[in-house]
Amino acid sequence: MSDESTGTAVSDQPSDAPRQRASVEDVLVDVKNLVKYFPVTAGVLRRKVGDVKAVDDVSFTIGRGETLGLVGESGCGKTTTGRCILQLYDVTSGSVVFNDVDLVQTKGEQLRRMRRHMQLIFQDPFASLDPRMTAGDIIGEPLLVHKIAKGNEYRERVAELLSMVELDPAVASRYPHEFSGGQRQRLGIARALAVNPDFIVCDEAVSALDVSIQAQIITLLMRLREEFNLTYLFIAHDLAVVRNISDRVAVMYLGKIVEITTSDQLYANPRHPYTISLLSAVPIPDPVVDRTRERIVLEGDVPSPMNPPGGCPFHTRCPQATDICRTQVPEMKKVDEGHMASCHLLDAI
C-alpha cells in the first residue's frame, strides 16, 4: 500500500484556536428522559428475571454544528445511548427529537427517510465492513439504498467521497483486507458521509487505532465537521481524545449523566467526584508532570446495572459519600452557566 494516499503534512494542521460554534439555541438533537432497559431472562421458559438498566433517565441537547463528547467507564451505557438516538434499539421510554421530529414516535417510511440524516461510525473498522465488497461498493451502498445516485453519477460520487477522506479514488476496486486499520476507518467515514448526513454518532471511532493514525483520523473528522457543518456525538473512553474534538462533554456513570459542561470547563473545573477521579486517573505522557499530579484511585468495580445501588449511583465508590448519598438520588443542578452536575455535595467539594 502506498504512502501518498493518506495523511496531511505536519505543517498542515487545523488551527488550535477555539472554533466558532453554531448557536446553542439551534438544537438539532434533543434527548429527554431517555430510558433503555434490556430484559434479562432465565431458564428454558425465558422467564424475565430483571432488567439491565443500560440508560436510565438521560437528557441532553446537541446544537447544530456542535460536537458533544460522551465519556465514562466500560459498560456505563454510552453505546446504548448512541444507538437509542439513532433508533437502532427500541427505546423503553423518553423522547429523541431530531430536527423537530420525535424519532421515538416515528415509524416505517418516515423513520427511514429521517435515518438518512443520521449516521454511525463504529469502533471496529474490520467488523463493520463486509469482506466480500470492494471499497467502492461499501461506500456506494447507501447511495443505492437511499436511491441517491446511480450509473456515472454514482461512480463520480464514490470517487469524490474517497478523496474527501484523503484516499486515492483508484482504491475503489480494492477489498477491506488490503487496507490498514486507519484506512479502513477512513472508508467507514466516507460511507457515513455518502448520504450527506447532518448528524454522526462516532462510537469509539478512533479507539482501536494507534496514536499516530488516531491523530490523522481526528484531524480528518475535524476538517469534515467544518466543511459540512456536521454535528457529532463523539463516544470514547479516552478523555484526552474527547477533549480535543468536543465542544461540550457529558460524563456517564451507570446509565446516568452525572456531569455535563463545555470541554474546557470540564477539564479545568470538574465538579462531580466521579469526573474528578476519572480525570485524575488519566496518565500524562510526560513523566515529570505525571508524577506531580494527585491521583484518586477508585476502589471496587462498577456495580451491576441490573441492580444499581439506591441513592446516588456513585456512592458505593465515592470517597466523599455521606448518609444522604446513600438514600437520596441527587438531581442535576446548575453549577455555572452551561455546567450541570448531579451530586449532593457540590457545595462541600
Binding site: D3, E73, V211, Q216, N244, L278
Partner: protein, 345 residues
C-alpha cells in the same frame, strides 16, 4: 526503582524473524537488539504492525513455522542462548522462568476450567505445591492482582469475569510460576483508562515483590511515562531509539519518537491542542528499502538516509552522559537540531 543490580536478564542481539508469504519475505523483526536488566521495567512502543508481538513471541520461540522463521541473531537469557536450546529445554523455560501475557486474553484462558483450577495446575506443575496449598496460593495471587472476594471467585469460569478482570487473571497465572522475566503484550488496549492504570500499577507492584524483570508492550504513551524505567521505540522491525523514560520524553532524539510524542492528545494543557500528525503509513515489511525505513515519512530525511540504514548508537550531544544512561538512537540527522515539539504552548 527498587534495588537494581546491573545483571542482564535478557540480551537480544540482532534478532531477525521473517515470514515467508505470497507477498514476499515479511521482515517482521530485522536486526533488533536490546537488554533487560534484573528488576527493570521496560516499555516497548511503536505503531501497529512494527513487530512488537513477533519480537516477544520470538523470545519464547513461539513463532509459527511455516511461514515464520527466526533467521538470525541471539536471544541470551541469563547467559544461555535460547535459539540454541532444545525444544525440551524451551518447555522448561516457558511459563516457568519466562512468563508471557498475550495480547488476546480470551484466547489464552481455558473457557471450560475454573480460574482457580487453571492457576492451581500451574502451581502444582511449576512450584510443586499440593492441592490444598495450590488452592490457597491461587486465592492469594488473585487477591494480589486485585480480584475482590478471591476465595469465592476461584470456582468461577473465565466468562464470569469482565475483560479487565480476565486480563488480571492472566497476570496472576503468569506469576504462578514465580518467573524471572514477565513479558506482557498489550495488556491494556481494549480496557478503559482506570482499568489500564490499575493493571500497570499491579504489574509495577509485583515487579518489586517478585524482583522480576518486566517487558510491557503498549500503545499508551501515558502509561509508559508513568510506569516504565526504560523506553524502547520500535519502527519497522528495529529499535530506532532507546533510553531512560525521562530522557526519552524530555529529549527524544529520533524524528519518529518526536512525532509519536506530538501525536498524543494531552489532558494537562490549558486549552485544547490539536495533535500533530505524522504523515503517511508504516512501510510494508515485505518491501523495505535499503535506507532508513522511516525516511519516506520523515521531514528531516536527507540523501544519506535513503542510501543506507543508520545503526543504533549512543546519542552524541549528551556525550559521556548519554553512554552512561544508555540513550541510543538510529538516525543520521544532527541530534542537536532535533527537539521535542512542545505540546503545551
Amino acid at each position: 526503582m527498587s534495588e537494581q543490580n546491573d545483571h542482564v536478564v535478557l540480551d537480544v542481539k540482532g534478532l531477525q524473524t521473517y515470514f515467508y508469504t505470497d507477498d514476499g519475505v515479511v521482515k517482521a523483526v530485522d536486526g533488533l537488539s536490546y537488554q533487560v536488566r534484573n528488576g527493570e521495567f521496560v516499555g516497548l512502543v511503536g505503531e501497529s504492525g512494527c513487530g512488537k508481538s513477533v519480537s516477544a513471541m520470538s523470545v519464547l520461540r513461539l513463532i509459527p513455522y511455516p511461514p515464520g522463521v527466526i533467521a538470525g541473531g541471539q536471544i541470551v537469557f541469563k547467559g544461555e542462548d535460547l535459539l540454541q536450546a532444545s525444544e525440551e529445554r524451551m518447555r522448561e523455560i516457558r511459563g516457568n522462568r519466562i512468563a508471557m501475557v498475550f495480547q488476546e486474553p480470551t484466547t489464552s484462558l481455558n473457557p471450560v476450567l475454573t480460574v482457580g483450577r487453571q492457576i492451581s495446575e500451574s502451581l502444582e506443575l511449576h512450584r510443586g505445591l499440593d492441592k490444598n496449598e495450590a488452592r490457597d496460593e491461587s486465592a492469594r495471587l488473585l487477591d494480589l492482582v486485585g480480584i475482590p472476594d478471591p476465595s469465592k471467585r476461584v470456582t468461577d469460569y473465565p466468562y464470569q469475569f469482565s475483560g479487565g478482570m480476565q486480563q488480571r487473571i492472566m497476570i496472576a497465572m503468569a506469576l504462578s510460576c514465580d518467573p524471572e522475566l514477565l513479558i506482557a503484550d498489550e495488556p491494556t488496549t481494549s480496557l478503559d483508562v482506570t482499568v489500564q492504570a490499575q493493571l500497570l500499577e499491579i504489574i509495577a507492584k509485583l515487579r518489586d515483590e517478585f524482583q522480576m524483570a518486566v517487558v510491557v508492550i503498549t500503545h499508551n504513551l501515558g502509561l509508559v511515562a508513568r510506569y516504565v524505567d526504560r523506553v524502547n521505540v520500535m519502527y519497522a522491525g528495529k529499535l530506532v531509539e532507546s533510553g531512560p523514560t525521562e530522557t526519552i520524553f524530555a529529549e527524544p532524539k529520533h524524528p519518529y519518537t518526536v512525532g509519536l510524542l506530538a501525536s498524543v492528545p494531552r489532558l494537562d494543557s490549558h486549552h485544547k491542542v490539536v495533535p500533530r500528525v505524522i504523515p503517511g503509513l508504516p512501510p510494508n515489511l515485505a518491501h523495505l528499502s535499503q535506507g532508513c525505513s522511516f525516511a519516506p515519512r520523515c521531514a528531516y530525511a536527507m540523501d544519506e538516509c535513503r542510501a543506507s540504514a543508520p545503526q543504533l548508537e549512543p546519542v552524541a550531544t549528551t556525550g559521556a552522559a548519554a553512554e552512561a544512561s544508555g540513550h541510543e538512537r538510529a538516525c543520521f540527522y544532527d541530534a542537536a537540531k532535533l527537539e521535542k515539539v512542545d505540546m503545551l504552548d
